[in-house]
């Protein structure tokens, strides 16, 4: 009887210590290093460039989340803080952007902000509707497509054709 009680206590202790190791380590890894996410919605489903990449030069700010499907740049939505959205970074701070449906035709991205757009123009709620977004809202950078397995690949940085920052000479001229 006494033996069973000690065994039970030992199991309980092992469970508690395992719990106190496993949960914080998991949470820290998910917060700091990488996480998986499933992408829903049509905003990143372009007909022509199906599985291509995120554009980001300023990688120091970003951790590399490992993401499920076609995922580019998850960030907290400025409209709804509970929601995360995934878009492609078109311009960094200081870039001049030709907008698609924003109130101004040309925009200079302010300091500490990004210009983000979905690949599926017209079906995406992005900077063209709410303007440049703050870098502080950024959550990570999509690095891999994991599921479905036949599309398993690394996501490379690329800009869609005709999108991207304008050259400064062009802007001055």
């Amino acid at each position: 009887m006494a033996q069973r009680a000690t065994a039970g206590r030992r199991y309980l202790r092992a469970f508690v210590s395992g719990f106190f190791i496993a949960v914080p380590v998991t949470v820290t890894v998910l917060d700091r290093f990488a996480y998986l996410a499933r992408v829903e919605g049509a905003s990143m489903q372009p007909p022509n460039l199906h599985p291509s990449g995120a554009t980001n030069e300023s990688h120091d700010l970003l951790v590399f989340p490992v993401c499920f499907m076609y995922v580019y740049c998850p960030l907290r939505s400025p409209r709804n803080p509970q929601q995360k959205i995934i878009k492609r970074v078109i311009g960094l701070e200081g870039d001049f952007i030709r907008t698609l449906s924003y109130k101004n035709r040309y925009v200079r991205v302010p300091d500490g902000h990004f210009w983000i757009e979905g690949d599926h123009h017209g079906h995406s709620l992005d900077s063209n509707s709410f303007g440049p977004v703050s870098v502080g809202l950024l959550h990570g950078r999509a690095s891999h497509i994991i599921w479905p397995p036949n599309r398993w690949q690394r996501i490379r940085a690329s800009l869609p054709a005709n999108r991207g920052p304008l050259d400064t000479e062009e802007d001055e001229g």
Binding site: I21, V27, G136
Partner: protein
């Protein structure tokens, strides 16, 4: 001998990782200690005060009008700002100075908050850069710890800007 050294090293690394992760979770989900600097929240918080900021109400979306919060600066993600929440989404905010004859008003858009310092004359806040996304908020200041004679919760807004 070699095995024992390896064992102690591995044990040390394991404990470091474990406690580091526990510390990260505590700072990320419960709260953290912050040393405030800058004049923008005087007289509620003066330079070099140490405050405790709790993270739960931000994760649960329980930030209310009048709370003093710590947020990431919208223009520099490495910088934190400490301001008071004056308006939540949908609130009407008076953007003109108290001495102006013609009052101008604006509405806080969805998912944003309006932040102002308590020291209206010496504060860069939503009056200059507009509403701030809610997701930039990091925590709500609930306790002032240092200096000891002002230990306790924070006082109400002295500016009467909250409508």
């Amino acid at each position: 001998m070699f095995r024992r050294v390896l064992g102690t090293t591995l044990g040390f690394v394991g404990y470091t990782i474990q406690y580091g992760c526990i510390a990260h979770c505590a700072f990320e989900y419960i709260g953290e200690f912050v040393i405030c600097s800058g004049p923008s929240m005087e007289p509620t918080i003066v330079n070099r005060d140490i405050v405790f900021s709790e993270r739960m109400s931000r994760h649960l979306c329980k930030i209310q009008k009048g709370d003093v919060i710590i947020a990431k600066s919208p223009f520099d993600p490495k910088l934190n700002i400490c301001k008071r929440v004056i308006g939540l989404e949908g609130d009407k905010i008076c953007t003109s100075a108290p001495s102006d004859v013609f009052k101008t008003h604006t509405y806080v858009p969805k998912g944003h908050v309006w932040l102002e310092g308590d020291n209206l004359r010496n504060s860069t806040d939503s009056r200059s850069y507009g509403p701030v996304p809610y997701a930039l908020i990091r925590g709500r200041i609930c306790l002032k710890l240092w200096p000891l004679h002002s230990f306790g919760t924070l006082s109400e807004s002295p500016t009467r800007r909250i409508i």
